[in-house]
Every structure is written in structure tokens, then in C-alpha cells.
């Protein structure tokens, strides 16, 4: 390190120059300045070394980025509400530390669902290329044939006549080319003008580059679309300059532009800005890249599974992806890699330059306070236009919230949500409305109707027999007198900052909430999942309603994530509070106010299983009496199974 030898000559060389009066100094005095310089130099060197050591080996002050745990601010008006970290960060429950727990096969096998799409075993993730063709709905999905965790991805395939009764088919595509050797990843289908299908999908190449590839049915006369041909000229798109090799995936369904070309968009990122690239094509083989992006939002990170589609401003049916016009708004949706949340925004599409502008930039795509399809566990979602029934249908991947050891032990991981219709909320005009497809009602068996009035702080059992495969539709009314009292009472504070996620769950009691259902509960309520409304007195004496799901006490297991989910739900004047809940073993899908706010949760009870699963109605408000009118149906299984010759006996009607 020390280079004193090289410095001394320099020093001595400088002497004559820096000391202008040195010329006449005798030799003895010349030696002295050199010694002084040596001492001074050594001093500086020591100081420099010391500084360097401190600078490079100082423990960092901040530990940001590692732990997103949010501590819950306790707003309890009732003693005993525990502070719990609430996000999707696993934390060993304090009261469970030291309690040995092991999953047994009885508990695990109960978790498989009766009527949600899932393969027979192993891992599934993103929905791919959903479409309707020659009488069958087709569903493709990311699948690992070898394990119950992500990896070795192929395209699984299934068909159904009604989006509910699915029949498993052989894999549609596997990684057998250099351009998808490391994964046949997510993609979308487009119908051409002649009714034929093209599929664009992301391949991870043999060098780990993300590229877009074209595929199409090998035999268009096969209604089951069993075999797929990959275009010999693949890949059709590679990451463009300025875009990372691993930031280029999930091409959308194409839409027609006004000059008759096809247009697609693909999500990516530039530094921390999430973006959506635009390409035009006439043949899906060669593309022109736009210089301008469809849209971008800073600080949102990588945009995965971008979706782009029109919705009608006035009508309740779906629109083909190419529809445009004055009656139409356009939705841009993206899956945020950073937060695992699907966000969407409503805006205006400009076909002339392929750009889109949100109605409300403060809740733009990816902004944390922006709109989500679902406030629970719901990701990588994708819509398609169902030309058979004129609907836009939404698929969403529902991952597990348990440990991978449990997934490995039970041999599977992940579900799909029940397909939902998607329309613009023509009343609020500011959000979408989703609802499970009507075909699910074909699974409804016997039902029971109830009308119950429950006072503050009560829980009542609801006797429906088995309670782990049920469909609940409910309406709630608060007594007018209670509302008047609460508004008149100045000592009842405004709930300025309520949010489901930071409330700590349904144990937080307010004047007007929470009230709702306790599902997947055992008789003693030691395990329960609460789906509820929480009505607050907002400013200007306006009521503000929230729809939440509290899974914090859903299980005694200590290796499961148990968040409280939820959001504000718009309730318009004159509307009653309504909720629908689909309970199907380890999944609960809740729909508030007709699907204005939706929450999907994964739940893993250890006791509230099989015959021990119960249903309760509860009202944990302090002041309000609630009247609940509701109907509960037992739900049949969808008997999802591998396709066999027997399933094809009825010739499908052609479309």
C-alpha cells in the first residue's frame, strides 16, 4: 500500500519549485524539509488509512428493505385487542411459540377444494390464453409437472362447457425448443378475423432471455385443441434496446387498430418505473415497436401480466377486445412484481398513437391506494372476451398462504378463483364490478333461508349442516334509530383513518361494526374466519363502509400467513348492505356490495374441518343492532377430473 518510495523523489523534485527562495539554501537545510515532508506524509497516510477503515467497515445504520413488517397501531376501544403484524410476512404467533404442531394427512386432504379449478397434483400459477372455441371453454395454466413449488414450467390445459365442470387434458406446450427451453411462460390468445386462433407466449430461452413466441392449434378442427404448433420462425419478439433480458414477458391479447393492424402490449420496467410497451403487427410474425409506451407509472416496479380491454359505460355485457368508441372506457391492469398485487385503472385510450391516460392519476395503475380486482390473495389475473355469452371473464391465480413443507406434504399448491364476469360499475363509474359466473349456481343444492336480528356483541350459530362447501347471499340493515343516535352523539368519534388491514381484525369494535359471518369456524370458535362490514361515521355525517376478511384466528397452525384483508366499499343512497361468500374448504371468496369490493383468502383450519365446520353470524358493534336476511346453499362438487371418452358423448353445438 505505501508508496513512499515513489513519493519522495516527487517531493524532493518539488522542493525547488515550491520554495522559491530555496535556491540559496545550504545543503543541510535542504535535508530538513525532506524529513518534515516524510513525517507529514506518514501522518496523512495513517489518517487516510484510519478513515478508509471506518468508511468501508461501518455497520449500516438503516436496515431498510429487509423487513416489511408493519406493526399495527392499536385503536382498540375495547381492552385486549392484540397488536399483530399483519402483512404477508410470516411471523410465528407469539402465543404459539413452543407449541408443537404438525400437519397430518386428514387435515391436509380436507384442504383440497370441491369446485375451484386445480390440477390433480403439483404446482400451478398464472392463467394462460383463456378462450371459447367450438363449444368448449379452454383454460391453460402455468404448471410444474415435477413438484409442488414453482419450476420446470409447462402449459397445463383443461376444457369445460360451463367454466365450472373442468376436464383435464394433456399438456398443451412443453419446453422443447431453444427459445422456451427454460420455461413456457404466460401468454394470451387472439382470434383472427377468420375465427382462427393465434397464441403469443413468453419463452425463457436456453440462455435465460425472455422472448415472445407464436403458436397456433395444430388442428383447427379439433374442438379440444389438444395439439399446438410453434411457429418455425420463433421468437417473434426479443427484448428491445433499453429493456432487460429478464424484464420482458406476458404478451396480451391483440386488438385491432383503426388502420386494421393488430396491436399488443407487454409489461416491463425501466429502473423502478413500471411500463407497458406497444407493438403493431399484421401477421403476428413481424412487429413494429412504438417509441411511445402505452403507459408508465414511476416507482411501481416491474409490470407483469398486463391486461388491456374496453368496458361499456352503459351496458352490462362484455366487449370484444377490439371494440372502441364513445360508449367505451379502457382498463389497464398490471400485476405488480414488488407487492404481488393486481391493480387496475380506468381511462381513455388513444388509438392514433397507442397511448392511454387514467381518469384519476392519483390512483394510477400500481399506486398502493389504487384500485384492485381483489383485496386478498389474487395475482397474475387475465380476462378474455367470451363471445359465446357476450361476457368479459376474469381468471385469477390464488396461491397458498401456508408453508412449502405443507404443500410438499399434501402434494399440491395453488388454485384459480371462480371465473368472474367483469363490467364497469355504471352507477359509480369509478370502479369495476366482478361477480362469480352464473354457471356456478348449477352447483347449488338444498338451501335454507334466515332472518335474524342481532344486538351489539352477539354471535349466533347458523345451522346449515355441513359448512365447508357453501354459498351465502346476505343483506344487512342497520336500525335507523341507531344511526340517528350515533350521528347525534358527538362523543362518538369519526373513524378518520380506519382500514381493514391495520384494524387488527374483527375484535376492533366500533359503534356500527363489525358485523357479518364467521365461516370455517369450529363450535368453540377457537378457529374462525370473519367476513364482515365495518361501517364508520365519516366526516359530514356520511357513512363510510368497509368490507374486510379477518383470517388472524383462522387456524391454530403456526406456519401459516394470517392477514386481515379488505377495503372501502362504495354504498350508494338507498342501497342495502349486501355480501356474498363462497366457502370451498381452504378458500373463501367474498364479494361486497354486488362485487364492488372482492376479497379472496386462503384458510387452513386444523379443527374446523369435515363435520366440525360451523357457520356463525356475528355482530361485534357496540351500539348498532343488525338485521340479517340471508340464504345459504350447500354446494355440490364440480367433480373436476381427467377428460375421458365418456365426457365427449354429446356432440358440442358449433358456434
Amino acid at each position: 500500500m505505501a508508496r513512499s518510495e515513489s513519493l519522495l523523489p516527487v517531493t524532493s523534485q518539488h522542493d525547488p519549485l515550491s520554495e522559491s527562495s530555496s535556491n540559496s539554501i545550504p545543503e543541510t537545510r535542504r535535508r530538513k524539509p525532506t524529513k518534515v515532508h516524510l513525517v507529514v506524509y506518514s501522518g496523512f497516510l495513517l489518517i487516510a488509512l484510519y478513515i478508509t477503515l471506518i468508511v468501508t467497515h461501518t455497520r449500516p445504520v438503516s436496515t431498510k428493505g429487509a423487513n416489511d413488517e408493519k406493526t399495527v397501531a392499536s385503536r382498540a376501544r375495547l381492552a385486549g385487542v392484540s397488536e399483530k403484524s399483519n402483512e404477508h410476512i410470516w411471523k410465528m404467533s407469539d402465543d404459539r411459540e413452543g407449541e408443537a404442531f404438525a400437519w397430518n394427512n386428514t387435515m391436509l386432504s380436507w384442504q383440497r377444494t370441491a369446485f375451484h379449478f386445480q390440477p390433480e397434483k403439483n404446482w400451478m400459477n398464472d392463467p394462460d390464453g383463456p378462450l371459447f372455441y367450438k363449444g368448449w371453454y379452454h383454460f391453460f395454466y402455468q404448471y410444474n409437472p415435477n413438484a409442488a413449488v414453482w419450476g420446470d414450467i409447462v402449459w397445463g390445459h383443461a376444457v369445460s362447457k360451463d367454466l365450472i365442470h373442468w376436464l383435464h387434458l394433456p399438456f398443451a406446450m412443453v419446453p422443447d425448443q431453444w427459445y422456451d427451453a427454460n420455461g413456457v411462460w404466460t401468454g394470451s390468445a387472439t382470434f383472427l378475423d377468420d375465427g382462427s386462433i393465434v397464441m403469443l407466449y413468453t419463452g425463457s430461452t436456453d440462455k435465460f432471455v425472455q422472448v415472445q413466441n407464436l403458436a397456433y392449434p395444430e388442428d383447427p378442427n379439433d374442438p379440444l385443441l389438444l395439439k399446438w404448433t410453434k411457429f418455425s420462425g420463433n421468437p417473434v419478439l426479443e427484448p428491445p434496446p433499453g429493456i432487460g433480458d429478464k424484464d420482458f414477458r406476458d404478451p396480451t391479447t391483440a386488438w385491432k387498430t383503426s388502420d386494421g393492424k393488430w396491436r399488443i402490449t407487454i409489461g416491463s420496467k425501466i429502473n423502478r418505473t413500471g411500463i407497458s410497451l406497444v407493438y403493431d403487427t399484421v401477421d403476428f410474425k413481424t412487429y413494429e415497436k412504438h417509441d411511445i409506451l402505452l403507459h408508465q407509472v414511476p416507482n411501481t416496479g416491474m409490470w407483469e401480466c398486463v391486461d388491456f380491454y374496453p368496458v361499456s359505460k352503459t351496458k352490462h355485457h362484455g366487449l370484444d377486445t377490439s371494440v372502441n368508441g364513445p360508449d367505451v372506457r379502457h382498463i389497464v391492469k398490471a400485476s405488480m412484481d414488488d407487492t404481488r398485487i393486481d391493480h387496475y385503472a380506468i381511462g381513455t385510450y388513444y388509438d392514433s398513437n397507442g397511448t392511454w391516460v387514467p381518469d384519476n392519476p392519483s390512483i394510477d395503475v400500481g399506486i398502493s391506494t389504487g384500485l384492485r380486482y381483489d383485496y386478498g390473495k389474487f395475482y397474475a389475473s387475465k380476462t378474455f372476451y367470451d363471445q359465446h355469452k357476450g361476457r368479459r371473464i376474469l381468471w385469477g391465480w390464488i396461491g397458498e398462504s401456508d408453508s412449502e413443507a405443507a404443500d410438499v406434504q399434501k402434494g399440491w399448491s395453488s388454485l384459480q378463483a371462480i371465473p368472474r364476469t367483469v363490467v364497469l360499475d355504471t352507477k359509480t363509474k369509478k370502479n369495476l364490478i366482478q361477480w362469480p359466473v352464473k354457471e356456478i349456481e348449477s352447483l347449488r343444492l338444498r338451501s335454507k333461508k334466515f332472518h335474524k336480528k342481532i344486538g351489539p356483541g352477539t354471535v349466533v350459530p347458523v345451522d346449515v349442516g355441513p359448512a365447508d362447501q357453501i354459498d351465502i347471499e346476505a343483506e344487512f340493515k342497520l336500525k335507523n334509530e341507531d344511526l340517528e343516535v350515533i350521528f347525534g352523539d358527538d362523543s362518538v368519534e369519526d373513524d378518520k383513518d380506519f382500514s381493514c388491514e391495520t384494524s387488527g381484525g374483527a375484535t376492533l369494535r366500533g359503534a356500527l361494526g363489525p358485523f357479518g359471518f364467521s365461516v370455517l369456524a369450529d363450535q368453540s370458535l377457537s378457529e374462525q374466519t370473519l367476513v364482515y362490514f365495518y361501517v364508520t361515521k365519516g366526516k359530514d355525517s356520511k357513512l363510510k363502509t368497509f368490507f374486510c376478511t379477518d383470517t388472524s384466528k383462522s387456524t391454530m397452525a403456526n406456519d401459516v400467513v394470517k392477514p386481515v384483508y379488505g377495503s372501502f366499499v362504495p354504498v350508494l343512497k338507498g342501497e342495502k348492505l349486501t355480501m356474498r361468500i363462497l366457502v370451498d374448504h381452504s378458500i373463501v371468496e367474498g364479494f361486497g356490495q354486488g362485487g364492488r369490493t372482492c376479497i379472496t383468502s386462503r384458510v387452513y383450519p386444523t379443527k374446523a374441518i369435515y363435520g366440525a365446520t360451523k357457520l356463525f353470524l356475528f355482530n361485534n358493534a357496540t351500539d348498532a343492532t343488525v338485521t340479517a336476511s340471508f340464504k345459504v346453499w350447500q354446494m355440490n362438487s364440480a367433480f373436476i377430473h381427467p377428460f375421458s371418452a365418456v365426457d365427449d358423448l354429446v356432440v358440442p353445438s358449433s358456434t
Binding site: T63, K246, M302, A405
Partner: protein, 162 residues
């Protein structure tokens, strides 16, 4: 004299800029010292990018899981009364080795880091659950605590890839 000062500054700057990729990365994790020692001890560390550093840590998780499984095996004979908890730990640590590690390696290499994050987070979860099963009398505490610490560091680095 000026030359001396200039050379001094240059030397200091040279030394400071050698605060390497490893050190810069480790500063953003919850355990700087552990992070540096794990990465410095690996020959690939000095030339790795963030993905590469993440993969080194996944390798450390793999090594630690293998070591812990060996210890679990010796404990079956030494402490037969702990069989039930050891069985559960064996299951948990086999998950780390056979599910979490391969998933993380594939995901990080292929540029879908969120699945890598799942894998490394789960390694910490499995270790904690195994530890908890001994109801406070664990013979594996130092190994399970190490796994949780390494998992936390790995997770912070994988997050940088998102």
C-alpha cells in the same frame, strides 16, 4: 506538498471505492457482518452481480440445510426421546433442500425473482417451525437460528432483484 495531498486523496478514494459490490449489497441487508462473511468466503463473490450474490446465499442455505439434516440424523440415536420433533424437523429441512433451494435457484437464474423470494423466505419459516417443535428444549437452536438469519439476508438481496 500539493502533490502529497493530491496523492493522499487519490489513495483514500481508491481504498474507499474498493468498498465492493459485496459491501454495498450487504449494507442493505439486516445483518451486514453475516452477509459479508458469507459472500467473502465464496470465491464467486468478488465478481458476482446481485443475482450471483443471491445465488451464493441460496447455496449457503443448501449447505446449512444439509448440515442440519446430518445433525438431526445423529440426534435420533443420541436423543431418542425427541423422535417426534426430529421427524418434523427432518420433514421441514428436506423441504428446504428439495423444494425451496431448487425453486430459488431456478427463479433467480431465470429472472422471476419473486419465486426465489418465496423459496428463501420459506427456508426461514421451516427452520423456525422446527425449532418451535422442541418446546424450548431444542438441541438444534444454533443451526435453526443460523438458517433464519441467512434466510433474512438472502431475502433482502433477492428483493433487490424485483
Amino acid at each position: 506538498m500539493k502533490m502529497v495531498v493530491v496523492m493522499m486523496i487519490m489513495m483514500v478514494m481508491a481504498m474507499v471505492s474498493e468498498a465492493s459490490m459485496i459491501e454495498q449489497t450487504c449494507k442493505e441487508t439486516p445483518d451486514f457482518n453475516l452477509c459479508v462473511s458469507l459472500l467473502d468466503s465464496d470465491p464467486r463473490g468478488s465478481s458476482a452481480d446481485t443475482s450471483g450474490l443471491a445465488l451464493i446465499l441460496v447455496d449457503k442455505i443448501k449447505g446449512l440445510a444439509t448440515k442440519t439434516l446430518k445433525e438431526i440424523n445423529t440426534l435420533y440415536k443420541k436423543r431418542p426421546e425427541l423422535k417426534q420433533a426430529l421427524d418434523e424437523c427432518s420433514r421441514r429441512y428436506n423441504t428446504i433442500l428439495k423444494a425451496d433451494v431448487p425453486e430459488a435457484i431456478e427463479a433467480i437464474s431465470k429472472g422471476v425473482p419473486k419465486f426465489g423470494e418465496d423459496g428463501v423466505i420459506d427456508a426461514g419459516v421451516e427452520a423456525a417451525v422446527c425449532e418451535g417443535d422442541f418446546k424450548g428444549k431444542s438441541p438444534l437452536t444454533s443451526l435453526t437460528k443460523s438458517m433464519q438469519k441467512v434466510s433474512n439476508v438472502a431475502r433482502a438481496i433477492v428483493r433487490m432483484l424485483l
